[in-house]
């Protein structure tokens, strides 16, 4: 389903800047000797950095010539902590990594444990996981759309209306999840072997109602954004990421797909129940801010379609394939090494698990490496910002939709 940016009447659009790859290790002494350079420190406590992220910008006039990113202000040592916790205790910890889509985080880490332990999840458990993951993707992309407009700021009425609308819609999804698991954010509803909480009577019906409300509002948001001349002027041809660079940086997900990287693990390496579904993946080739936004909008529509389809025929049966995790040390993995990647809302979310082995314990991971898609997304910074105005830096950073909780871990 190839998409292309809609032509907006009255907007001629800017000339496409030639794609060159800036040198992230640029030596400033090689730059023009008489240039009056200014070093500007952006962040770490800057509202547009979506958390605590610092960028050192070297400016020539108002044009950025070099950008250096400094993550690490939110580093909490999650990987070290996971080495000291039993398998069933890790789920609530990884919830806090990508706090915009915790449901997909906990499913991903439990899939790695299940692969190493050789536990099969029953079909109903996998079905519910698929359903929850798709609803979570809608909520996550709504946040991405809302905060992106807030970053673009004043031009479209402060951007606050779209931000509020997005949070209003997401609130309905959080209510759904609260009914299911008792928590608004950090659900802890996945466990090794399947799901901890079963969906209650009528939950699917309510989910369909909520998704229908959101679906009916999406065209309105689309009109408000992608047909707004000011929005187009701020996003079209700004921050162009080429396909080659997206591949090298390891960007699947909406950012990669906006640049023409046609990969989606739901379709290409199906897990859960995705092999029973027909996942249509939106791909664009423009690679600019606007394309990244439009791909997210198309993914929201696709996720709503999939989630509604999944609400139709939830199969009967057990939801967990292992013994209930009552004690902390019920899951034991003697030895094993696996890599499991799932399609998160920001790209491939992977977990590399080394279990047991000499010197390790069967109840705890020896090493758990989390592959966060946002860290890869932020590596665009030295390549996308140079050549742009300072005001565009904020818009580009917003279009990457990073979550600092999983960047720093």
């Amino acid at each position: 389903m190839p998409l292309d940016a809609p032509e907006v009447p009255g907007m001629s659009g800017r000339a496409l800047t030639p794609m060159f790859r800036p040198d992230p290790y640029l030596d400033l002494t090689d730059y023009e000797a008489d240039a009056d350079l200014m070093v500007l420190n952006l962040g770490p406590q800057h509202p547009s950095t979506h958390g605590v992220f610092r960028i050192k910008l070297v400016l020539d006039g108002e044009v950025i010539i070099k950008a250096v990113g400094y993550p690490g202000y939110l580093h909490r040592g999650v990987e070290k902590l996971c080495e000291k916790l039993t398998y069933s205790n890790i789920t609530p910890i990884v919830d806090k990594n990508d706090y915009i889509s915790p449901m997909i985080n906990e499913q991903a880490v439990n899939m790695a444990f299940e692969a190493a332990a050789g536990i099969e999840v029953p079909r109903r458990g996998r079905w519910i996981r698929t359903l929850l993951a798709e609803i979570q993707r809608v909520a996550s992309h709504l946040i991405a759309m809302g905060t992106f407009t807030l970053d673009i700021g004043g031009a479209i009425g402060g951007g606050a209306s779209m931000f509020m609308w997005a949070f209003r819609d997401r609130e309905m999804i959080l209510d759904l999840f609260e009914d299911l698991s008792g928590c608004r954010f950090h659900y802890n509803t996945s466990c090794v072997g399947g799901q901890r909480h079963d969906i209650t009577t009528g939950w699917e019906k309510r989910a369909v109602e909520v998704l229908s409300i959101i679906e009916s509002r999406i065209p309105e948001y689309e009109r408000f954004m992608s047909e707004n001349p000011i929005f187009v002027a701020r996003t079209r041809h700004i921050g162009v990421l080429s396909r080659d660079l997206a591949l090298e940086l390891g960007l699947g997900g909406p950012i990669g797909r906006a640049s023409g990287v046609d990969v989606d693990l739901r379709r290409d390496a199906p897990y859960h129940c995705y092999d029973e579904l027909d996942v249509r993946v939106p791909v664009m080739t423009a690679g600019d801010n606007e394309a990244r936004f439009l791909v997210r909008v198309a993914e929201v529509k696709e996720s709503i379609r999939l989630a509604k389809q999944l609400c139709e025929g939830v199969p009967e049966g057990p939801i967990c394939g292992a013994k209930p995790n009552i004690g902390p040390a019920t899951i034991k993995i003697k030895t094993g090494e696996v890599y499991v990647g799932v399609e998160g809302p920001r790209g491939e979310l992977g977990h590399y698990l080394i279990a047991g082995g000499p010197g390790g314990k069967p109840t705890m991971p020896y090493r758990l490496k989390i592959r966060p898609p946002s860290l890869h997304a932020l590596q665009c910074i030295p390549y996308l910002l140079p050549g742009n105005n300072l005001s565009d830096a904020i818009a580009i950073l917003g279009s990457l939709d990073p979550v600092m909780g999983e960047v720093d871990r």
């Binding site: 690490g72 990987e79 090298e248 990969v263 290409d268 390496a269 592959r371």
Partner: protein, 156 residues
């Protein structure tokens, strides 16, 4: 694919596997180059692990010296089948491994993070600094012998 990898590593075609194969450190860069030219162009991750010394005991039949392991994961973005390829390199203490930054720009921060937290040195990395911890931090926190309550200087 496997037919091209086998002569490079000097092993049987049947021994080539796309997950968990151990490769000598001097073949690491050549293997990554070969995979990139064969379509495995999506850089996924690099994972360094510290293994402590294990003396021979009832549970450990063979003594294990202290060593490091660096695993690399690449992906081939094919529509319908996203194949991944992963291999491991075993390193002695202090032995560097070739950096992949010249092949994959995305290896920059990943390798810096592994250098920072685990303490594996990447040769030919253009900018090998700490990524997560402060610049004046002592030690590498993700090593197995680094205790969680190790005293440290207060945050700057």
């Amino acid at each position: 694919m496997n037919e091209a990898i086998a002569p490079l590593l000097g092993i049987d075609v049947a021994d080539v596997s796309d997950f968990g194969m151990t490769v000598p450190a001097d073949k690491h860069f050549a293997l990554a180059t070969l995979l990139k030219t064969s379509g495995y162009g999506l850089y996924v991750s690099v994972i360094a692990t510290h293994f402590t010394e294990q003396k021979k005991s009832r549970k450990v039949p063979e003594p294990v010296p202290e060593h490091f392991q660096v695993a690399t994961v690449l992906r081939k973005p094919v529509k319908g089948a996203a194949l991944s390829f992963s291999w491991k390199v075993k390193l002695d203490v202090g032995q560097p491994i070739d950096s992949l930054v010249s092949l994959f720009a995305g290896a920059d921060w990943q390798e810096r993070e592994q250098y920072d937290l685990v303490g594996v040195t990447f040769a030919n990395h253009p900018d090998l600094r700490r990524l997560m911890m402060p610049d004046d931090w002592e030690g590498h926190p993700l090593r197995r012998d680094y205790a969680i309550d190790t005293p440290h200087h207060p945050w700057r």
